[in-house]
């Protein structure tokens, strides 16, 4: 479990990093290293070079803009959780991040790393999709912004091109009549979930008007289930109906801790848990 040989490049500016990356297809970005370094030690990948972007300035901003919050790619999970802007405007993100790994990992792991790695079991990609976030990447031709829902193409596969680096995420502010509700079911605290759900709910006089459901740890990417959302909004929750609808909308992939059937069951239960939370 020692990483194979690679060279190491500590980027001083974003454009250097982009240039370097565009010239070497096998070079790979190193941010907090919390996912990448274990993978290297297991020799699951053998990049030619690690482009360390962790020293780049101005990529860890967290700022409030007119209608959105911007989180720079290099902001660590801990920075995000401790940011007064996030605490005030996105308290749900703080509670989500509490379920991401453990303190030591959150001190190093970055927001952008998690979003760009695209682990289908991770919380942040689902959060970005639920929030209709804009993911901003920078490449040889300048910046480009991608809707989160279009960003995830498959298992660990994203729309980042080989010369691009993710620089930040823009989250639209949550409106007064909107709520973010989050639930996940893990075997141990801090583990990737057996199934998780992030819901964005728009209410009108305490009835649900609009519901966006984004599941994680269920399939090959964050799973958006619009048909099921509609059923919930129109007919309310009924276990067997919801289960049937989810099974047609998500291509469930089992893992060591939960089979496909288990994930389908838990996903169904998650909706009822979220509805209960909304009632309270």
């Amino acid at each position: 479990m020692k990483a194979p040989d690679f060279s190491y490049y500590e980027a001083e500016t974003l454009s250097d990093a982009i240039k370097f990356k565009s010239q070497d297809d096998e070079a790979i970005i190193l941010a907090g290293g919390q996912s990448l370094l274990p993978a290297l030690n297991m020799r699951l990948s053998s990049p030619s070079c690690l482009i360390d972007i962790s020293k780049l300035k101005d990529l860890n901003d967290i700022r409030l803009e007119d209608n959105s919050i911007y989180i720079g790619a290099l902001a660590t999970h801990t920075q995000v959780m401790e940011s007064s802007i996030i605490i005030e405007k996105f308290p749900s993100l703080v509670s989500i991040l509490k379920m991401v790994a453990h303190a030591a990992i959150r001190n190093k792991g970055t927001h952008g790393g998690s979003i760009s790695y695209g682990d289908p079991a991770a919380e942040l990609p689902a959060f970005a999709v639920a929030m209709n976030a804009e993911i901003i990447v920078s490449g040889l031709n300048g910046n480009r912004s991608i809707a989160a829902e279009d960003f995830y193409l498959g298992l660990f596969e994203t729309d980042i091109k080989s010369d691009e680096i993710l620089i930040g995420i823009n989250y639209p502010l949550v409106k007064n009549n909107e709520k973010i509700v989050f639930e996940e079911i893990c075997r141990r605290h801090g583990d990737y979930a057996m199934a998780g759900l992030i819901a964005k709910v728009k209410t009108y006089q305490s009835t649900i008007e609009k519901l966006k459901l984004v599941f994680f740890a269920t399939g090959d990417r964050p799973n958006v289930t619009s048909k099921t959302s509609e059923i919930v909004v129109n007919n309310g929750y009924e276990y067997s109906v919801i289960k049937k609808s989810l099974s047609s909308e998500i291509d469930f992939a089992g893992d060591l801790n939960s089979s496909e059937e288990m994930k389908l069951h838990l996903a169904t239960i998650l909706i009822s848990k979220i509805l209960k939370k909304l009632e309270n």
Partner: protein, 797 residues
């Protein structure tokens, strides 16, 4: 909690005297060293000219090696050589993991590297020697092996079928060992029984997951023909013998050094092929060789444990008295029986210990141990106990439910009475000094069992069901020669201690017991200082070096305090007598008028005495001042072993309260209680740490830990992310209390306390979970009890 007083053993003197350290929760000095990062582990060691090795391991559970090509690999930077079995077998004699005292065992010869067939995924077939481990791993990737994959015998349940894959042709079948124990007339008893209950339980494989992985540095000194091995094991003298024997080195010239060891749990008391290969490489190339198992290697080559399927039945009369018990256990041990303890002992303990706390006049236990193409399985903390206790206690709960008795009542009417010892287990193993009745009474009172459901109502979230479990168990500790030695293994059941007063008045103690983090050093120091009458900081302790400590068995089977501690006590008492004799001669008085306290020889009448420092100075530097004929030895050595019984048993009672989320299948342990009777507690806090840590390891086996294999024999979860050990969040509040019945086999009276938690927790958890699930007519019988298994038992998925 710094200075808990516990019930004192009268043989140890008054608790109020100066330097009375036995029985107090004193802080352990080496914890500070570890907190400061000052420990010295095998991987910290760097010797001149040292090389590192990495192993080429079989990616298949069963495959023939058609050819290996090293050419390209040998050209890699830093590569010194690459060896296969051909080269290693010239240096190291093969071994066989069998013992002679338990009936016929059939296991094949094993060599450090597999010769032509690999029999588990992870078995080493070649060793790459390089300057650094990284270089060795780089070269591994370039070795070309042509494999012929063979069908694997993965499932233990089909291993004895006619169409099974025979793993070792020369043995003719996959049967390693079988044994039947019978007392009374079981067949008759079941025929006449009024009520019979039955169940079958499954226990998945799990493993020890030591914080520090296995590691070795072997250093062959050609000039002296001396083999020094730095090894993070548990039994240095056993390794000394084994290395001498298999490498043809004079045993006196083998030195094993085990400094700090980061956890062992029985994992590190066995002989591992890769470690033997590292020793062979050192002897062959004449350089120090380091091998440190990485986590992947730990998961696929450290011994696994459990892997049992046991069915049992229990007969009770109308009052709930047990009339008969029968169990039939099947266990799969991988392709080899481990050396030198064999992989039979876990099953043997199941046969010995099922039903152990209870009077069961008719008892039968059958054990069958088979080979399969998985990582070798062997003894791990609480060997066999989780299986024996779980089957017994599951059957008792079933019987209680069937005839309408409370969980407490059915146990109470069946216990071997506290006043009936010496007695025997239903299987016929001698028992002494136990307290199942008193321990259960105490447990029920600290649990407040009658109000437990009310107490926890507030905690209950809608959708959860709750349940309670209580169990009793007997724990094997302090084994005598009848455990291994009698079967032909060179495993010492004696332990020794050597203690000396030095010129400065300091005391040096060495013991053959070793430390892996449990606080051995601290308790040895407490015993020595207490018995000698000196302050704790006077005593320095050396452990884990065959050149520097007395001969002995080391640490396993919860024997450190009871056997090693007694040796320290005896040595300290002899040294004290020597000191007092010298002091009496110097002070021209009678030895009975003197004592030692606070590092001084004192006169009991209060007149001035002499400090140990002054006394030592006289003896060492001005010996002419001592009256002629006085024995000047300020050094004493003693040994101890258990005689007359195979083991000294400890007993415990455990209880727990769980809630189960019916939607998710997640189990929450609301509270856990243990009452332990381990006799004298030398350091109560360390005893309680052992119990809590043990319980948590038991929770691991019961709820989380499993070496998951696919049906080709590939381990699926060999990483710390995928193999789930309980962590801080999963640890419940564990309330520990004690009953004290000192062992009559020693002065110190200590029994072992290292394994009960691990042995009992799986049973009590399973019972509590089934107690809850009974409310919805469901039941689980397979460990680990995962959320998915719970949901399936309720037909939710």
């Amino acid at each position: 909690m710094d200075d808990i007083k516990v019930n004192q053993n009268p043989k140890l003197g008054s608790f109020d005297r100066p330097n009375s350290y036995i029985g107090r929760s004193l802080p352990r000095e080496n914890a500070k060293k570890h907190l400061e990062g000052g420990g010295q582990f095998v991987d910290d060691l760097v010797l001149p000219r040292m090389v590192n090795v990495a192993f080429l391991r079989s990616p298949f559970a069963h495959a023939q090696i058609v050819s290996i090509n090293f050419e390209e690999a040998k050209e890699c930077p830093g590569i010194i050589d690459i060896f296969t079995a051909n080269e290693i077998d010239e240096i190291c004699k093969p071994w066989v993991g069998t013992l002679g005292h338990l009936g016929e065992m059939k296991s094949p010869e094993q060599t450090p590297l597999a010769k032509s067939v690999a029999r588990w995924q992870g078995e080493a077939i070649a060793v790459v020697i390089a300057k650094t481990r990284e270089q060795a791993e780089d070269a591994l990737e370039l070795i070309e092996v042509e494999w012929l994959e063979k069908e694997a015998q993965v499932d233990m349940e089909t291993a004895l079928n006619d169409d099974a894959v025979i793993i070792h042709e020369e043995l003719g079948s996959n049967l390693f060992w079988t044994r039947t124990v019978e007392q009374g007339n079981v067949e008759n008893a079941f025929k006449e029984a009024e009520t019979v209950v039955e169940t079958t339980l499954d226990f998945a494989r799990h493993t020890g997951v030591t914080l520090e992985s296995r590691g070795i540095v072997a250093d062959w000194n050609k000039a002296e023909e001396k083999m020094t091995v730095y090894h993070n094991g548990q039994a240095p003298h056993m390794m000394q013998h084994i290395i001498a024997k298999h490498f043809n080195v004079n045993e006196g010239l083998v030195r094993i050094v085990s400094r700090d060891v980061g956890g062992s749990f029985g994992i590190k008391v066995h002989v591992y092929p890769d470690e033997m290969a590292a020793v062979a490489v050192s002897k062959k190339i004449g350089r120090p060789v380091k091998f440190i198992a990485d986590r992947l290697e730990s998961f696929t080559t450290d011994i696994h444990a459990r892997c049992h399927k046991i069915s049992g039945k229990l007969a009770v009369d109308k009052d709930g008295k047990i009339t008969a018990m029968e169990v039939n256990d099947l266990s799969g041990i991988g392709p080899f029986s481990m050396y030198p303890r064999t992989s039979a002992i876990e099953t043997n303990q199941v046969l010995n210990l099922s039903g152990a706390p209870y009077v069961i006049p008719n008892y039968k236990a059958i054990g069958t141990v088979v080979f399969q193409n998985k990582t070798p399985m062997c003894q791990y903390r609480a060997v066999g106990h989780p299986i024996a206790v779980a089957i017994t206690e599951a059957l008792i709960d079933k019987a209680a439910m069937k005839i309408g008795l409370s969980l407490a009542k059915i146990r109470k009417i069946n216990f071997i009475p506290d006043n009936s010892y010496p007695n025997k287990t239903p299987s016929g193993v001698p028992l002494e000094d136990l307290s199942h009745q008193a321990s259960m009474d105490k447990l029920l009172s600290i649990m407040d069992i009658d109000n437990i459901e009310n107490l926890n109502k507030d905690d209950l979230i809608p959708g959860t069901i709750s349940g309670i479990g209580v169990i009793s168990m007997s724990e094997v500790t302090n084994p005598s020669p009848l455990f291994y030695g009698v079967g032909g293994a060179h495993i010492s059941s004696q332990d020794g201690a050597s203690i000396r007063l030095e010129g400065s008045g300091a005391v040096h103690l060495s013991s053959s017991i070793t430390e892996q983090g449990q606080g051995t050093e601290a308790i040895m120091k407490q015993i020595a200082a207490d018995q000698l009458g000196v302050s704790m900081d006077t005593v320095r302790v050396t452990l884990g070096d065959t050149d520097a400590t007395p001969y002995g068995g080391g640490t396993w089977a919860s024997r450190g305090a009871g056997i090693g501690g007694e040796a320290v006590l005896k040595a300290a008492r002899t040294l004290k007598t020597n000191i007092l004799n010298i002091a009496a001669a110097i002070m021209q008085t009678d030895i009975d008028s003197l004592d030692i306290a606070n590092n001084n020889v004192i006169r009991k009448n209060g007149e001035e005495g002499i400090s140990l420092q002054k006394l030592a100075e006289i003896v060492y530097y001005r010996g002419h001042e001592i009256p002629k004929g006085t024995n000047p030895e300020l050094l004493a050595t003693a040994s101890f072993l258990i005689e007359g019984v195979p083991f000294v048993f400890t007993n415990s009672a455990m209880g727990c309260h769980v809630s189960i989320d019916q939607d998710t299948g997640i189990v929450k342990i609301n509270k856990f209680w243990v009452v332990e009777d381990c006799g004298t507690q030398i350091n109560p806090k360390l005893v309680e740490e052992q119990i809590r840590g043990g319980v948590i390891q038991g929770i691991g086996g019961a709820l989380f830990e499993e070496c998951v294999y696919d049906n080709q024999g590939n381990m699926q979860n060999a990483t710390m992310a995928d193999y789930l050990v309980p962590m801080a969040y999963e640890m419940p509040d564990i309330i520990v209390d004690h009953v004290t019945t000192n062992s009559g086999r020693s002065i110190i009276g200590a029994k072992g306390a290292g394994e009960a938690g691990t042995g009992g927790a799986p049973a009590v958890l399973m019972n509590a979970i089934n107690n809850a699930l009974a409310k919805v007519d469901a039941e689980v019988t397979s460990q680990p009890i995962t959320p998915e298994k719970i949901l399936r038992s309720m037909n939710k998925i």
